[in-house]
């Protein structure tokens, strides 16, 4: 297990390096630049801006300079949010995204796993069908429909939760967390159900049943651990994506999160901001997947034993 981990760790910087290189050159190939606007820049302004932001010289030399800065931990300036650096933007906007993401993840895990278990244990009943129908709706209902619906119901009609805004750990988190978590909850429910049904048909469960164990013991002590394996493997990318925010949820609920940077930096050709978001997301994905593999090793003895 240890040598397996070590081998995985060695690959992390290599993967990141490839990711950075590809993104850097790909972004420069997109038509239009960070300073183009519907108003022509007065003569000399483009040159001055290019120089100010270190975008002069060939793309290769810019790449070299970028890497040097990057190694020192400097992600460069934002070309759109002119008063802030990329480092500052990430440190300002990542915490709200993480807080919202974790809240959404907890809500969706609890709701999703519970619904999935109920469905599996009462499989092919009305309860199962209705839960799974809800899950399908959860996956397919776009958040720009679901979010405003939540706002209208809980804020405009019932007046129990605020419409929008961000105040740290507060009531303001609930609606955006539900909106953000819904599709994840639905995925968790379906994965749990499938995993549970598969496990329940395994021989060792039949053995346990024939030994006369109670259904409760069978489910909780023997089946649950294995049934959650698919959920755990989905958890890696889920954590990475849910904690880096969502453009739509942030817009609807006015959350100062990082999600919109992923989209808007690309639209604005905010070169350094794009790099910053890609590096952050790439690292998160790699780390989460690694963590999932470790957890997997504990849940499923077959993993990591092959070497």
């Amino acid at each position: 297990m240890f040598s397996y981990l070590l081998r995985r760790l060695v690959f992390v910087p290599i993967i990141l390096f490839i990711l950075i290189t590809i993104t850097f050159f790909l972004v420069r190939m997109a038509p239009g630049g960070p300073f183009s606007s519907d108003r022509e820049l007065p003569p000399g302004v483009e040159e001055a801006l290019t120089k100010r932001y270190n975008l002069d010289g060939s793309v290769a030399s810019q790449y070299g300079r970028y890497l040097v800065k990057l190694v020192q931990g400097d992600l460069g300036p934002s070309l759109k949010q002119k008063d802030y650096s990329v480092n500052e933007i990430i440190s300002n906007h990542l915490p709200p995204s993480i807080l919202l993401g974790i809240t959404a993840l907890l809500i969706s895990l609890c709701a999703g796993v519970a619904a999935g278990l109920v469905s599996a244990l009462k499989s092919n009943s009305m309860l199962d069908y209705s839960t799974m129908a809800l899950a399908v709706i959860g996956i397919s209902l776009p958040v720009f429909v679901f979010g405003p619906l939540l706002q209208t119901l809980f804020s405009r009609v019932l007046h129990i939760l605020p419409v929008s805004g961000y105040r740290g750990i507060s009531l303001h988190l609930i609606l955006p967390a539900i909106a953000l978590g819904l599709p994840f909850a639905a995925r968790f429910a379906r994965l749990t159900r499938a995993g549970m049904l598969e496990i329940l048909s395994e021989d060792f469960i039949t053995t346990a049943r024939s030994k006369g164990l109670t259904e409760r013991t069978i489910v909780l002590r023997h089946a649950l651990k294995g049934a959650l394996l698919p959920v755990v493997s989905f958890l890696g990318p889920a954590i990475a994506s849910i904690t880096t925010g969502s453009l739509v949820v942030e817009k609807i609920f006015n959350i100062p999160g990082l999600g919109r940077e992923f989209v808007e930096s690309a639209l604005n050709r905010d070169y350094f901001m794009i790099m910053g978001t890609v590096i952050l997301y790439g690292t998160l994905i790699i780390v989460c997947n690694l963590a999932v593999d470790i957890v997997y090793g504990f849940l499923d003895p077959r993993v990591g034993n092959e070497d």
């Binding site: 038509p31 022509e40 419409v163």
Partner: protein
Amino acid sequence: MNYLQYIFNFSVIASLCLFGTVSATADGVPTSMPEWKAAYVPEGEVWKYTEQHLTFNNGTDPETLDPHLMTGLPEMRLAEALFEGLVTYDPSDLSPRPGVAENWGVSDDGLIYTFHLREDAKWSDGKTVTAHYFLSSWKRGLDPVNRYINLFFPIAGAENYSKGELTDFGEVGIHVKDSHTLEVTLHAPCPYFLDLVAFPTYYPVRVDLIEKFNEKWTRQENIIGNGPFVLKEWSPREQIIFEKNPHYWDRDFVKLEMVTALPISDLNTAYKLFQDDKLHWMPALPVARIEELKRNPDYYVYPMLGSYFYRFNVTQPPFDDVRVRKAFCLATDRVEICNELLKGGEQPSNHFCPPVAGYEPIEGLKHDIVAARNLLAAAGYGKDKIEFPKLEIIYNTSEGHKMIAEAISQQWKQNLGIDMGTRNMEWKVYLDNQNNLDYTISRSSWIGDYADPSTFFSIFRTDDGNNRTGWSCRVYDELLDTVSVTLDRKERNKIFNELERLLVEQECPVLPIYDYVNKGLIKESVLGWEPNIRDVHPLKYIWRE
């Protein structure tokens, strides 16, 4: 609007400032103030018992609070609270009103402006605002990272200095006569110069602060301004909070104690907050709900200094032929677009420059299908003739632009029998295509920077970076040269009409569609807020009742 009169007749301004005063009461202390200003002193006592806290939706987080780097209206709305130029806009008609300058004089030839700064103008750290600060700020503004640098170019030597052709800043026409007198020399008369001086790029900034903190000088802990408000909090994407500036020279006149600007880009969310009374003003509306919003008593709509139009690429067939361009203009029914499609009060337009500063547009080419068909046939297109090539209108991705492009394409199909495709493009790609003349017809818009028609017409000068049609006309360029040295308002407007005629009647490199309007919601409790063509609403004059 007696706009130009103010500029050229110093005595009018002087009489307004010095003699045309009435007694008014603010905070119970009798003061004397000019009539135009006294209109913004609340009557009665109600406002004193109302919380003087205004919350409005600015729609986005500002890209910067640095007046020399900003480009958009949301930024300028905030800058106007934090800084004050020599001259400020009248909240109603935008004519120049005293700001840091108590008064000013203009030489007979219109070349030398002498600004007399008030003694009591202070920065928010208590230091006096002297003429030196303006000199150093404008010098900084001439650094070409300022996208509005060209607004300084009427000043003698400014353009040369910014290009490095002039190295001695002393030769630029900005001179400190004494600590409270600033003399500005222009290289040619500029009838709208005072309007420019009120623009954010002319605001004074603390260069000492900028040298100390670099781009961090705009943070709440560092920034020092001279405007009616100070920055209390800037939480990016959450909110911006201003508090009344206790050092502001006109503090007794400022009624609002606190202002919150929200960056909500989802306008449906903003509307919910407005309904909950958590928002008092929203200058942008969710377009899909316009019918419902129009019935709201808080709804407002008024003309704006902006034009929505299509550009033709005149360098390629078929639109290199003026007859074809004209035919397309004649075959477009703007009234249908505005009344059936947009329904938001937009004004169908056959002109490029909206009415501004006394300028009245010409009638232009009206909807005339027969004339359009004849022109097209004369150009050799039609039955038994050349088949019209399959072309596209390009527009930047947006529901509104799509709707209009499809409707116009439908009209052309009906009226001319021509199939014109439509294609949406991501913003930067669209700009790239437009810039490189890689299009046939392109959606466009133009918003005026100052209240003078030249802010519109100048963009179609040959080879102007904003021309983007490939169109070049010697007569047009010469008329632009003439108008730039013409001071008489009537004479100017005549020339502008001739420019317009060339643009939309004779040569038609553009197809005007409608004049923009400002639409929004504002609570009845907000007073001192005036509609105007630039959508400029100085917070200094606003209060709540």
